[in-house]
Symmetry: C2
DNA sequence: CAATCCGCGTTATAACATAACAGACCAATC
DNA sequence: GATTGGTCTGTTATGTTATAACGCGGATTG
């Protein structure tokens, strides 16, 4: 059971992806690490996609609908790992510089602190990117 | 009196920049918005710099010493606006999508929430990028 | 039936960033 | 004072990431 279902949320529907969007989404879902648009392109070439645009257009849509996130500090994309992420205003990423793993998480406390800053400053938030780089627990233990 | 001096901190020294670093730093200090490396290059061409490498090398150093920050989501650079930033583990940016202004801030509460998450997860943080996009107070008022 | 919107495919190009090589300078130390 | 190691420099070339612009076709809808 997913974390979301455990919380009593409905399962997010995954509707109406076009063929190209579905191809890109499938690649990302099965990836073990963030992928660049061009790495994705290499994977979907077998399916007939040939140009960066085709991948970028699919990615744009997938990012819009929050199925996929862009990691700005890597210029790479990951499938959303957090079924509840549509219900959070922001999502954070912990990126291991040793093994490349990415941990996506949402934290209500952090969210709330940002909300308070927003309130104080008058800034109207539309989107937030939080990317923490360092060593994941496993890699830190080895070091 | 700067915020730092008010807090009783010593003024950060700005030592030993090389000629190229100084040129790039001067451009960024006087910029009213984040600049791409190539935009900086255009500015320092008059001073004899010709190749991207020269700018990127200077930027690398300036970012290392925290005189300059990279905005990952814009692929652009800003002079550090926060004299105390060396004393914070993380710095946040609020980027106005209407006017392009960037507000750099540090928030102890936010920092602490991240510290707690770090403790729980075992992740060893080295660097954190927080980039909030939206509308600054002024632009939000107009909209 | 337009008119409009959206996605598709394509070619070309823009924008961002680094590799790799060689020379100049300076400090440390043998 | 020669040698070594480190850092910065300048340069050419190349790699990587992202978008512009054109035209086509299908779906929706007024």
């Amino acid at each position: 059971m997913s974390q979301c279902e455990a919380h009593g949320h409905v399962k997010r529907s995954e509707p109406s992806l076009t063929k190209n969007q579905q191809l890109v989404w499938d690649v990302l879902r099965h990836a073990s690490a963030p992928m660049s648009a061009y790495a994705i392109l290499d994977e979907v070439r077998a399916d007939g996609l040939r140009a960066p645009q085709q991948v970028y257009r699919a990615l744009d849509k997938l990012v819009d609908t929050s199925l996929v996130h862009k990691l700005e500090s890597l210029n790479a994309f990951v499938a959303c790992a957090q079924p509840c992420c549509a219900e959070h205003e922001m999502v954070c990423f912990a990126i291991c510089e040793a093994c490349g793993s990415v941990d996506e998480f949402a934290d209500d406390q952090i969210e709330q602190q940002f909300a308070e800053w927003t309130k104080r400053s008058g800034f109207v938030r539309r989107q937030t990117a939080v990317e923490i780089k360092g060593l994941c627990k496993g890699c830190a233990a080895q070091a």
